[in-house]
């Protein structure tokens, strides 16, 4: 969900940029150079995942998977998702330049929240328990992202309020799909490679 330049109020743009800078700084502090290859390759895979279109009825949606990114990367999801958004803006013209901060917060903050809410449930217990928590996390991340997008718009002007509400309800199917996909992805990963979640571990916090 990329907001474009010119739609938001200056205060929202500046606030978003400041929050994003803070989140990225925190993420980078938890990212020693040893972990850069893992973070970079994961960042690239979430970029590729956003190219996947999943059918929903006659239409299709593209994946965001920020919940999954949060579960695996933790705070490092902030710089990793920022890099993805930067590349999308610069090379594909998605979103915009001044709104990069707001867009980063809208995608990455839910990822970090999901990390704190669901990480424990995903790493402990059987693959089935992990999958249920991951499904909840995947859906929660999209719900929070949509809510944050709505909030950025509402703070920018009352004229956006009806649209923001409609956008939230229109994304409920997307939440379900992302939840299902996240659950299946973690169910597989927990069986094939249980130490997937240790990829970012060992980083000083």
């Amino acid at each position: 969900m990329h907001i474009v330049d010119g739609a938001l109020a200056n205060e929202v743009v500046i606030g978003g940029a400041a929050l994003a800078a803070g989140g990225i700084a925190l993420g980078l502090r938890r990212l020693p150079l040893e972990k850069i290859p893992a973070a970079g390759v994961l960042s690239a895979s979430f970029f590729v995942a956003s190219l996947i279109h999943v059918p929903i009825g006659p239409s299709s949606v593209h994946l965001i998977m920020n919940g999954l990114a949060g579960l695996i990367l933790g705070w490092a999801a902030f710089p990793a998702l920022f890099v993805g958004l930067l590349l999308q803006a610069v090379f594909f013209g998605f979103g915009g330049l001044t709104v990069l901060g707001v867009n980063t917060v809208n995608i990455a903050l839910p990822a970090v929240i999901v990390y704190y809410v669901c990480r424990r449930g995903v790493t402990r217990g059987t693959p089935l328990v992990a999958a249920i928590w991951a499904g909840f996390g995947g859906a929660l991340a999209i719900a929070l992202t949509t809510a944050l997008v709505g909030l950025s718009l509402m703070l920018s002007g009352d004229a956006f309020i009806p649209a923001a509400k409609l956008v939230f309800f229109a994304h409920i199917p997307v939440m379900v799909i992302e939840g299902l996909l996240s659950a299946a992805a973690i169910y597989l990963a927990a069986q094939v490679k249980p130490d997937l979640f240790d990829a970012m571990k060992g980083a000083p916090s």
């Binding site: 990329h2 474009v4 330049d5 010119g6 739609a7 200056n10 743009v13 990225i24 990212l31 150079l33 290859p37 893992a38 973070a39 970079g40 390759v41 994961l42 690239a44 895979s45 970029f47 590729v48 190219l51 996947i52 999943v54 059918p55 009825g57 593209h62 994946l63 998977m65 990793a80 890099v83 993805g84 930067l86 590349l87 999308q88 610069v90 090379f91 594909f92 013209g93 998605f94 915009g96 330049l97 001044t98 718009l153 009352d158 004229a159 956006f160 009806p162 649209a163 409609l166 956008v167 229109a170 799909i177 299902l180 996909l181 996240s182 299946a184 973690i186 597989l188 490679k193 997937l196």
Partner: protein
């Protein structure tokens, strides 16, 4: 977005850097800063003629950078469906003088003006960004950002992401092909969603395993916790000219906006 990646730009490593054009010879830092300045000025302006002028200026930059016109314009115009929806709703949600009524809802001129304003701003910024920075080789973008004092960790993360997007995309396409061979046809059902989920999970597992091999290879070559960035960038006379020209144009836009606001 997939269609955009496949249609014109096969890989991120092979980009429009070889296009030539007057902009390609400029210092990447000048182009990045120019795009940022352009975005800030354009977003700050709201008078319609100024925004049209900004869009024309961006079109001029596109002409200078010699990017293929049709695909660039298509990329510029592409927006998320929710933004299009949002803009379409604006005439109805902003109160003002009515143009027409649809099912009891009045569309206002003020709302339409706001929607057009956002459209002009968004397209001008994206067009300038695609022309100035999008024509760069992604790796050059990393080097330039590093010279612009962006933290090294972030630059390294960017470089790794750029390097592995194509690799992982190829892996994704291989997995999709294998699924297709086994008769998978995406539809709206539980089986499809589970299969897509497994696909994402498998991609993540393979990505982590690849990153372990990458780190091993780096250590084998004496990786000591620092990646040298070798590119030397020189700020030359043409860069000064470019900065002066773009700066003057942006100043003129701001002056027009301020003069209009003062009236």
């Amino acid at each position: 977005m997939g269609h955009i990646l496949t249609a014109e730009r096969q890989t991120l490593n092979d980009t429009g850097a070889g296009h030539g054009g007057a902009l390609a010879r400029l210092d990447p830092r000048a182009r990045i800063l120019g795009a940022c300045a352009f975005a800030m000025v354009t977003v700050a302006c709201s008078w319609m003629p100024v925004l049209v002028a900004a869009l024309l200026l961006a079109a001029g930059l596109m002409w200078l950078s010699r990017v293929p016109v049709a695909p660039t314009l298509r990329r510029m115009a592409a927006m998320d469906s929710f933004i299009i929806f949002l803009l379409a709703l604006l005439p109805f949600s902003v109160p003002g003088d009515a143009i027409f009524t649809l099912w009891g809802f009045a569309a206002s001129w003020q709302g339409l003006a706001l929607a057009v304003e956002i459209l002009l701003t968004a397209n001008a910024v994206v067009l300038a960004l695609l022309s100035l920075v999008g024509t760069m080789e992604p790796v050059t973008l990393g080097h330039a950002l590093s010279r612009l004092r962006v933290p090294d960790t972030l630059v390294h993360l960017l470089m790794f992401t750029i390097r592995y997007i194509d690799v992982l995309r190829a892996e994704y396409l291989r997995l999709r092909q294998a699924m297709k061979m086994r008769g998978f046809r995406p539809a709206t059902n539980w089986h499809s969603y589970r299969s897509f989920g497994y696909l994402v999970g498998m991609m993540l597992v393979r990505a982590i395993e690849r990153s372990e091999r990458v780190l091993g290879a780096m250590k084998c070559r004496g990786f000591a916790g620092r990646i040298p960035l070798l590119e030397t960038l020189a700020y030359g006379r043409s860069d000064v000219l470019f900065a002066a020209g773009l700066g003057a144009a942006l100043l003129a836009l701001s002056a027009a906006e301020i003069a209009h606001a003062a009236v």
